[in-house]
């Protein structure tokens, strides 16, 4: 029940926000804030009192074997926590930025968050695809309606990239569905059933590519990354935070949850290419980031570089690397989210994102300066901050499998250092040539930054709870690649799923 609640709270909160706009355009943000606070509380409750695991099964369209099968294990839990936390931060970051059509804005924002939560919790492939679409459409509106100068181009590009790749995934899902149905006689979208589908090598490769393209475009990896800088740059701050902090993570989650367990042998076959793409993303993304003049675009490209570690680690086939990937997902969400909030704050104050017109802002805004410095350091992988744990574990894990790729990827330590110090230099260091004297972070912004700073430090120094949470998932994945999801635990749910399985077209 709590899982359905986690998905519904933002959606209902969004509707409420839309509704309250009629009375007062300043009202929706409170509704949104309350909804996300409730979402975070619910997620924390799930983590603290339900030991983070839960399952929810209700038949939806039995004729086609579609169930509302929600499942939460450690992996989903940490991502849902991240979603709730970043959702709250995103709402807070939009507080003063969005003044037009506020109700519809928060409706879209919260619907996206609801879709993201759904993606992290669905174990039915049809449901998964449903939520996949739910998160894309409102995001399109967020960019197209509240974006900056070039928003129409950016939103179309975002929509086309994700939609086309999403359709390929739909084809792959259907192919898997029919193959499984033909082989076993009952047609179902249930992930646990589909895990047992025997696949010929070529079929596995084909179906895997369908999934993989959707996930890799979302991740994004070179050469499918070019939607990302446009979308990030043009999106409003809250949109960028959700986009970088969460939407990219759905791609990573998809690879971990679906691609690796469903197509274990095909994954091994494809691993060298994926790892190569990961390394290219790390280095090429860093190069692109270094060359940018627009601060937001620069940070967008750093995401390409960081998510390269995710692709590299996910396909390395080593447990250490998988732990690193999860850590990298979480920490990148927080650090890049924080950077986007800071850039949003800068834009609100200076009305520009151009690096050429910034500089020397630390003396005027010490709190912003210190936060920017901290998250720039997180982004270059400074030990003591969470991102280091992720990147180090990925590289260590990859090194055990393939020293060559690990050494090449290690060059990312240098390239990330180059762009990170460049960000610092062009914004808070250097001469303040334009004589900027903007106000420092407000109380609201300070609270957000403080929470994010504490979190990134905590993940860097005491990361064990995260690893404890995800270890069942990772250990299962490595031991029995064909049956990674645990069997339903309660008798009631087993009954329901059996009942569902009985009725096939």
């Amino acid at each position: 029940m709590i899982l359905a609640g986690l998905i519904l709270i933002p959606a209902v909160g969004g509707l409420l926000a839309w509704f309250t706009e009629r009375f007062n355009p300043a009202r929706p943000k409170f509704a949104a804030l309350a909804a996300m606070a409730a979402e975070l509380l619910a997620a924390v409750y799930l983590a603290a009192f339900r030991s983070g695991s839960a399952r929810f099964v209700v038949p939806w369209i039995p004729r086609f074997g579609i169930t509302i099968h929600l499942y939460c294990d450690g992996l989903s839990l940490v991502l849902v926590l991240l979603t709730a936390f970043l959702g709250l931060a995103a709402v807070a970051s939009a507080w003063t930025e969005i003044n037009e059509r506020t109700g519809f804005f928060y409706f879209n924002l919260l619907l996206t968050l609801s879709g993201v939560t759904g993606v992290f919790l669905s174990l039915d492939l049809f449901l998964f695809y449903f939520f996949w679409e739910v998160m894309i459409l409102p995001m399109y509106f967020l960019i197209a309606l509240w974006g900056h100068e070039n928003r129409v181009y950016a939103s179309c590009k975002f929509f086309l990239f994700t939609q086309v790749s999403g359709l390929l995934m739909l084809v792959a899902i259907l192919a898997l569905y029919f193959l499984h149905g033909q082989n076993t006689g009952h047609y179902t979208f249930d992930y646990i059933q589909l895990l047992k589908t025997p696949l010929s090598h070529s079929a596995a490769m084909l179906i895997m590519s369908g999934f993989l393209i959707a996930f890799v475009v979302k991740l994004p990896s070179v050469p499918f990354h070019s939607w990302l800088p446009d979308a990030h740059t043009e999106a409003p701050t809250a949109g960028s935070v959700v986009l970088a902090g969460l939407l990219l993570k759905t791609g990573a989650y998809g690879i971990l949850r679906f691609v690796l367990p469903l197509f274990a042998s095909a994954v091994r076959h494809f691993a060298p290419i994926a790892m190569a793409l990961g390394v290219v993303s790390i280095l090429y993304g860093a190069l692109l980031a270094f060359g940018q003049r627009d601060l937001k675009r620069m940070i967008a490209y750093t995401s390409v570089s960081h998510m390269g570690f995710v692709l590299l680690g996910a396909f390395a086939g080593s447990r250490l690397a998988l732990y690193g990937v999860v850590m990298q997902i979480l920490c990148h969400g927080i650090s890049t989210g924080a950077l986007f909030i800071l850039v949003g704050g800068l834009r609100e104050r200076l009305h520009t994102r151009e690096l050429d017109s910034m500089g020397g802002l630390w003396s005027a805004m010490p709190r912003l300066g210190a936060s920017l410095m901290l998250f720039a350091m997180a982004s270059l992988g400074l030990p003591g901050l969470g991102n280091f744990i992720g990147e180090f574990l990925v590289l260590l894990g990859v090194f055990q499998v393939s020293p060559f790729w690990a050494v090449l990827a290690s060059l990312g330590f240098v390239t990330s250092c180059v762009y990170s110090v460049w960000i610092v230099q062009r914004t808070i260091h250097g001469p303040n040539t334009r004589g900027w004297n903007p106000p420092d972070l407000s109380g609201r912004e300070t609270v957000v930054m403080a929470a994010m700073s504490v979190l990134i430090l905590w993940l860097g120094l005491f990361p064990r709870p995260v690893f404890t949470a995800v270890s069942p998932f990772v250990e299962n994945l490595r031991q029995k690649p064909q049956s990674s999801a645990p069997a339903p635990e309660s008798g009631r749910t087993t009954g329901v799923s059996r009942a569902v399985r009985g009725r096939t077209p």
Binding site: K157, V222, P223, H225, S226, P229, L287, L288, F290, G291, Q292, R293, S318, R319, L320, Y323, G360, W362, S363, P366, A370, M373, M377, L382, P383, G384, F388, I389, F392, L393, L395, L396, F399, Q400, P403, A406, V407, S410, L411, F413, V414, C417, V418, V421, W422, Q425, I428, H429, G430, P431, N432, L461, F462, P463, R464, F467, S471, V474
Partner: protein
């Protein structure tokens, strides 16, 4: 007392955090108390810990490990946050905390006029905390945390006055160049964990000794990667280029970087991982050769600088070269001894230079100074003591005992050679020359700029203490010939391998010592004569000397080389590819479809004639296809 070990690194971290969060609201006096106080208590505690550690002399291989918390524990990879105290780390933390405290005390007055007083102390404290973590780390991952932490702090403090673009440049350069070395270190850690299954330093050393045969390629590769890391942090060839530019920071920062933290990290790393280097004679030889080459190269560059701090920077590179040379010939404890004496006299010299610079309104150019001897007697005398110690003036200075030991051991070691000895002795000549060139230009000759400020007690006291230590510091390792017992060497040999002498070379130590002493004194006399007789200026004005002068002045062209080979191409590539060549494919795709749309639109022109033509053509094609296929 040993249980209090964790407080030693924790205090500076706490001070840093506190100052970073609340510093701007505190009065300057409180900031000074907090900033210097945290490190001061740290130094006191270190003293207490040292007493209680030395009290355990009954067991010869006594070490103390304190686990604070388990950092990670995944898939067999379980480094914890643990501190490890043994003879080597004890000597390191004693020197680090003592010298850092003196520098902090000095800074309370030196930086008093700066707007960012609290930020300065927050970052200085963080620097000390990181260095202590590095030295006390029980495993390589925690060491790496401290290692990167000092890199970060050097970046923050070199760029402390960030308003000037060149300061930012120097800071970035320091961070990125050392990061190159750090990456090599990270790769070394990957190898170590993959092959030996642990990152705990003690276990790694034992496992390496057991599983890796001496001279095996894997041991050599690992040792060379560790060396690359050390070379980056310790500013040795070929990654030395960042240190001369690091002068951009406030002078106490330079003192901290050069004397107590940062640059000695490389020396510590190699000493700490001595087992790996012993397994690979090739890597050990590389250490010695890099040290010897660096000390000569940097010596030449130091000889021609104008900026007083740059002379000191090159002298640091050169002196660390001596430490590398010592490590490379297996004189492990001699390297640590020289680290200690160097920390004293280099901190003294930097702080003295800081006084001079502050007194002459920020003048760095020695040619615009002069005659300050009378105006600043305390600074002059202490600076002179530091200079004597750096030049290894025989018998009375600490620098003599440590450097003489290295020069001698470069010859008599089983790994030594005449060439290494010759480089060391030549470096000693250069050292005396550039040091006293600096002293003569700054304190002697005509008065060019009046000293406007006299240092107060917070700046004077560190000078005096460090001057005493620069003289008396040699006593802790006084060799037998001078009536001592080589106490430090004995103490360190608990943890470091003992020195192996080459058969037949151990004779004539006295003669070698006298020769080395003559060389360092001769260097002082030579530069004195050259400068007094105006020969120095004459020589440096001949065209050939000028070319050489500018070559040395620019640090042997390394900057230009790296700029040409690495920096410019990368920046150019980034600039050219700003719009992402891959995106052209997608924009091309959209343009293509738009062109297609235009083309199809053009057919919809409303003229019946073209419609009829279209229908006819279409019919013809269909009929044609039907007939021919």
């Amino acid at each position: 007392m040993l249980e209090l070990l964790w407080i030693i690194p924790a205090l500076p971290f706490a001070g840093s955090l506190f100052l970073a969060l609340l510093g701007r609201k505190l009065p300057r006096r409180a900031i000074a108390c907090l900033g210097a106080g945290s490190v001061g208590i740290c130094a006191l505690l270190t003293g207490l810990v040292a007493i209680s550690f030395i009290g355990h002399t009954s067991s010869h291989s006594f070490t103390y490990t304190q686990t604070l918390w388990s950092w990670l524990d995944v898939a067999g990879f379980g480094p914890s946050v643990s501190l490890h105290l043994d003879a080597l780390s004890l000597v390191m933390i004693l020197v680090i905390t003592l010298v850092s405290f003196l520098i902090h005390l000095y800074s309370t007055e030196f930086m008093i006029g700066d707007a960012d007083y609290s930020r300065f102390f927050a970052q200085m404290n963080l620097f000390v905390g990181s260095m202590l973590t590095l030295v006390l780390a029980d495993n390589f991952l925690l060491l790496y945390l401290g290692w990167e932490g000092v890199g970060l702090c050097s970046y923050l403090l070199i760029g402390f006055w960030y308003g000037e673009p060149q300061n930012g440049y120097a800071a970035r350069k320091a961070f990125i160049v050392t990061r190159v070395g750090d990456t090599a270190l990270a790769i070394a850690l990957f190898i170590i964990f993959t092959h030996l299954g642990t990152l705990r330093i003690g276990e790694v050393m034992l496992a390496a000794r057991d599983t890796w045969p001496a001279g095996s390629p894997i041991a050599t590769v690992t040792a060379l990667l560790l060396l690359a890391g050390a070379v980056g942090k310790s500013a040795q060839l070929p990654l030395q280029t960042w240190l001369p530019d690091a002068m951009a920071g406030p002078t106490p920062v330079s003192a901290l970087i050069h004397a107590a933290t940062m640059v000695t990290a490389g020396v510590y790393l190699i000493a700490r991982t001595n087992v790996l280097f012993m397994l690979s004679p090739a890597a050990l030889t590389a250490v010695a050769v890099i040290g010897a080459a660096t000390l000569v190269v940097a010596g030449f560059s130091g000889l021609v600088q104008h900026d007083i701090k740059r002379v000191l920077a090159y002298s640091t590179i050169s002196q660390i070269g001596y430490m590398f040379l010592a490590l490379g010939v297996g004189a492990w404890s001699a390297a640590i001894f020289h680290f200690m004496t160097h920390a004293f006299f280099k901190a003294l010299l930097f702080l003295g230079a800081g006084c001079v610079i502050a007194a002459t309104d920020g003048e760095h150019d020695m040619f615009k100074m002069g005659g300050l001897r009378k105006q600043m007697p305390l600074v002059f005398w202490t600076f002179l003591i530091g200079a004597c110690s750096l030049s290894a003036v025989p018998l009375i200075t600490a620098g003599f005992y440590s450097k003489d030991l290295i020069i001698w051991k470069a010859y008599c070691s089983a790994r030594g050679s005449v060439w290494l000895w010759a480089a060391a002795i030549f470096g000693s000549l250069l050292t005396s020359m550039y040091t006293f060139r600096m002293v003569l230009l700054t304190f002697f000759g005509p008065l060019r700029k009046n000293a406007t400020k006299r240092p107060g007690w917070p700046m004077s006291l560190p000078l005096v203490v460090l001057a005493v230590l620069s003289i008396a510091g040699g006593l802790v390792d006084l060799p037998k010939n001078f009536g001592g017992g080589s106490a430090l060497t004995k103490f360190l040999t608990r943890d470091l391998p003992s020195f192996v002498t080459a058969p037949g070379r151990a004779v004539h130590q006295g003669m070698f010592g006298v020769f080395a002493a003559c060389v360092s004194l001769g260097g002082i006399l030579l530069i004195e004569l050259l400068m007094r007789s105006r020969m120095y200026e004459k020589i440096s004005e001949s065209p050939r000397a000028k070319a050489l002068h500018s070559f040395w002045f620019s640090g042997w062209g390394f900057d230009r080389l790296y700029d040409l080979v690495l920096v410019s191409p990368y920046a150019m590539l980034a600039r050219i590819n700003r719009d992402d060549v891959i995106d052209y494919f997608y924009t091309g795709l959209s343009r293509l479809s738009r062109q297609g749309w235009r083309g199809l639109c053009a057919t919809e022109n409303g003229r019946v004639r073209s419609f009829v033509l279209g229908i006819a053509l279409g019919a013809a094609i269909i009929i044609g296809l039907a007939v021919f296929l």
